[in-house]
């Protein structure tokens, strides 16, 4: 990396080298049988140069020919991409190490043993197909630049995903357990999956109309995607966001507070710097419904004349991407949703007739910029008088996040981590449209 940086420095005013190393193994058990065992080791280098205010970039997986990488970056520079910023200077950042050495010695057999225990728990207690996937990751990235930044981050994670499948479908009741090292879900958690599955197994006819709808923590991303698109510095600068000139306005309900906090080490994915070498920090996006900040990488922060928010990530976007081959883009990956004051059970009791969204189909479709959504509930649990009585057959809910977040009935008093780096509560909304056959 250092050699590459030195070579880049000779031909540019400023330069940055990004390195990524990813070593992952996974297994998949389907219908209680081991069906897939896979592994990958991916390495890569990406550079960015600034010369005369212009930006050039290049990447490679195999650093066999450094000259060629520099040539590619210089060719890119000729395109005339405006930089508009300098690479960051070094800062005193907290040391965050989420690497657990025990993951180095994990084997495929360890993953299989973990899944086997879970399958034994479910076996004989359900009519559903029992699947379980598991995997471990060792990941490292480092960023250095000619202004002196040299930051390294390492992390490990081990994920276990038990699933109970409904008949004739790939739809399931599942949970995603991810920790820094191998850690099995508790029996009470597995029992909850089982109870939910068994209660929701019957397909129930629901009349279309407006009703109470609860988004479970694992479906909140549908709504967050839209809010993150609207608050993106890119959308604001490009004049596509509906939130332009709305800083300080109440655009969501007063009980809604959302912020990005990469320094929260309680969950995985915490990092003291982003993929541009900008120190991360807690950034409030909405506080009690009021729009507080846009999020921006170096480029759009310079365009909007705001501070970069430490959210410049490679492999950004809804579906992620290769961190080496893609350029940084602002993508808040550590979103926290402030909890409310109602327990899950109390929230369920508030639903006399409604639906719990426990998974979504088509979250990426529709007019995301405008905040609109129209998703298949997959599954959607039918709730009558506070109890799950089955699941919706072919149901679709729709709405607009900006009006929906003004109709919040209750927010759970507990936050969950449905993915490695997010913390969401379950949220109950009023008057949401459900279409069914």
């Amino acid at each position: 990396m250092e050699k590459l940086l030195k070579m880049a420095e000779r031909v540019a005013d400023e330069a940055e080298v990004f390195y990524h190393e990813y070593d992952a193994s996974s297994i998949s058990i389907r219908d209680e049988d081991l069906r897939e065992v896979e592994s990958t080791i991916q390495i890569g280098y990406a550079i960015r140069l600034i010369k005369n205010g212009r930006l050039g970039a290049a990447y490679t997986k195999n650093l066999l020919d450094r000259e060629q990488v520099i040539k590619n970056a210089l060719a890119s520079l000729k395109g005339g991409m405006e930089a508009g910023y300098h690479f960051p200077e070094p800062s005193k950042i907290p040391h965050i190490d989420q690497y657990d050495k025990s993951v180095e010695s994990l084997t495929f057999s360890d993953l299989h043993d973990a899944c086997k225990g879970i399958i034994s728990f479910f076996k004989g207690k359900t009519r559903g197909q029992i699947d379980c996937a598991a995997g471990f990751v060792r990941e490292k990235h480092r960023i250095i630049n000619t202004r002196g930044v040299d930051y390294t981050h390492r992390e490990t994670n081990v994920a276990i995903i038990p699933q109970l499948l409904y008949p004739n479908t790939e739809t399931s009741v599942y949970n995603y357990y991810i920790f820094q090292r191998l850690k099995l879900p508790r029996e009470t958690e597995l029992q909850q999956i089982l109870d939910t599955y068994n209660a929701s197994l019957p397909e129930v006819k629901v009349e279309p109309g407006k009703m109470k709808v609860m988004f479970q923590d694992n479906s909140i991303y549908v709504l967050l995607w839209r809010l993150m698109t609207g608050t993106s510095g890119k959308s604001v600068y490009a004049n596509t966001s509906p939130l332009i000139d709305r800083i300080g306005d109440a655009v969501l309900g007063e009980n809604i507070t959302i912020y990005n906090d990469p320094l929260d080490t309680e969950l995985l994915g915490a990092s003291a710097f982003d993929d541009e070498g900008v120190p991360t920090k807690k950034v409030e996006l909405f506080s009690n419904g009021i729009l507080k900040n846009y999020h921006a990488d170096l480029y759009y922060a310079s365009k909007l004349k705001i501070e970069p928010t430490g959210t410049g990530e490679r492999g950004a976007g809804m579906f992620g991407g290769d961190p080496v081959t893609s350029l940084p883009e602002s993508s808040p990956r550590h979103i926290r949703f402030a909890p409310g004051d109602t327990s899950y059970d109390e929230m369920m009791r508030l639903i006399t007739h409604g639906v719990v969204v426990a998974g979504a189909l088509g979250a990426h479709s529709g007019n995301i910029m405008n905040g609109d959504f129209s998703i298949g509930v997959n599954p959607g649990f039918v709730v009558k008088d506070g109890d799950i009585v089955g699941r919706v057959k072919d149901g679709m809910i729709s709405g607009n996040v900006y009006s929906l977040f003004k109709k919040v009935t209750a927010i759970e008093n507990k936050i969950h981590n449905p993915d490695s780096a997010f913390k969401y509560p379950c949220i109950l909304f009023d008057d949401v449209a459900l279409a069914t056959k």
Binding site: V37, K61, L327, S365
Partner: protein, 454 residues
């Protein structure tokens, strides 16, 4: 290269081993409005090793040649573990040993075209869109992906194949007050530069649609008879049915597999669906899949009856059905999985006016805006649409997302048009991205479709 790869797999203690080495070159140019956000041409490479031993089957991918010994150890460890545990040992269906080198013909090889010309081409379309009234922004890209693949297996197959995918795509935003509407326009394919030139009409048309959407009415949620244009027919086919013709999806799902038995009646007599990546001059074209099997056309539904399935060698053996050449990887970072390639509904006999008469009252939905499937359920979205009243196309509607069920919706196709169109840009994300997933068909009419609205 071939000799080097041969040496790497020689002596590996397995019943079967294969290796794929790929060099991938990508050229990308990206404008956000009038600002250049990305430009560059870069090369990456890597290896995929798979091994079958005693009924255990595994894969490892690496980018560094020096990691290949680790990769081979991992695939053998994993295969041995699986062999010990699995109740259904993996077998690979027989496949002919092939020695071939294939480069598809191109109409304008992009590697012979200067980057300046590509910039100007993209800039031209981008500027054309931005000059239209009420267009607030664009996100426009030129992309060119060249994969050079070398494949060898322990049975003696040695294949090299090149694939070139090119495209220009633009997301177009129109804005009025706080209302934003967006559509996308794309041109391209696997034939090089030809389809990228002289396509102003495509981008102008979509700029007009984006503008008109500002005055369109959000569709009311409910049950409709829908007329799908060819691209929507293709997306519907891809999401509603295509993924279930991919044998790896249903291989280990006992209930779905039972329902998807060949001979099952899934649609009406007028419905015929085919996967054919051998069709020349279209996005989804290739000769060999990523395990060295020549692709062949497969009739998936004939007169409403499930008649064929798409396979890897593994699934062909598991289903005791013929190999089809549909085991495809995104690139060197992934082992291959079963992919539908080019899927379409075969044209029927109805003229457009007859289709409108069949609908009578309903909606006309055009151009795709993403879809997803999970077992029997699927969703898919349209960029725009129109109400149909008394068999006539009426006012424009927006925010159109549909949900359906494989086992009921295919049976609800009540008319098939006599026209035909295939998509020019792909992007199916079944675990990996397939930028060459082509789809299409004629106009079709489906009754009782559920639209979510907003």
């Amino acid at each position: 290269m071939i000799d080097e790869l041969q040496k790497m797999i020689d002596g590996v203690d397995a019943d079967f081993v294969d290796i794929r080495y790929e060099i991938k070159n990508e050229t990308n140019i990206h404008y956000v409005k009038r600002e250049l956000k990305e430009i560059g041409s870069n090369t990456t490479d890597g290896y995929v090793v798979r091994a079958l031993k005693g009924g255990g089957f595994s894969s490892t991918t690496v980018t560094r040649k020096g990691d290949l010994p680790v990769a081979i150890k991992r695939v053998l460890d994993a295969a041995n573990l699986m062999a010990k545990i699995t109740k259904k040992p993996v077998k690979l269906a027989d496949a002919p040993v092939i020695k071939d080198r294939f480069s598809p013909g191109m109409n304008g090889d992009p590697r012979d075209v200067d980057i300046e010309e590509k910039i100007n081409l993209l800039k031209g379309y981008n500027e054309l869109i931005l000059s239209q009234p009420e267009i607030s922004a664009t996100d426009s890209i030129y992309f060119e992906v060249h994969r050079k693949k070398f494949y060898l297996n322990s049975e003696g197959s040695i294949i090299s194949e090149e694939l070139m995918t090119t495209g220009i795509a633009s997301r177009i935003y129109a804005k009025s007050g706080s209302l934003v509407q967006d559509v996308s326009a794309s041109v391209g394919g696997s034939q090089g530069m030809k389809k990228l030139y002289d396509r102003e009409d495509v981008f102008l048309n979509k700029a007009r649609i984006a503008r008109e959407l500002l005055n369109a009415t959000p569709v009311k949620s409910g049950k409709y008879t829908v007329l799908l244009n060819p691209l929507m027919t293709g997306l519907f086919t891809h999401e509603a049915f295509g993924h279930f013709s991919e044998a790896d999806i249903i291989e280990d799902n006992a209930t779905l597999r039972k329902k998807m038995t060949l001979g099952a009646k899934l649609g009406s007599e007028i419905l015929n669906i085919t996967a054919d990546s051998t069709l020349p001059d279209q996005l989804g074209f290739y000769k060999y899949d990523d395990e060295g099997v020549a692709v062949r056309p497969v009739n998936l539904i004939e007169k409403g009856i499930l008649s064929g399935r798409l396979h890897s060698r593994r699934t062909a053996a598991a289903f005791n059905e013929p190999i089809s050449g549909h085991s495809i990887a995104e690139d060197y970072r992934y082992p291959p999985i079963v992919r539908m390639g080019t899927i379409f509904v075969k044209p029927g006999g109805s003229k457009f006016d007859e289709l409108l008469e069949t609908v009578k009252d309903g909606v006309y939905l055009l151009d795709t805006k993403g879809g997803q499937t999970a077992g029997e359920n699927f969703t898919f979205a349209a960029q725009y649409g129109y109400l149909i009243k008394n068999g006539e196309v009426g006012p424009m509607i927006r925010e159109i997302n549909l949900i359906g069920n494989l086992f009921t919706t295919l049976a609800n196709i009540i008319a098939v048009g006599d026209d035909f169109q295939l998509s020019e840009r792909g992007g199916c994300g079944k675990g990996q991205m397939n930028i060459r997933s082509a789809l299409g068909g004629p106009h079709t009419v489906i009754r009782d479709a559920i639209i979510g609205g907003i």
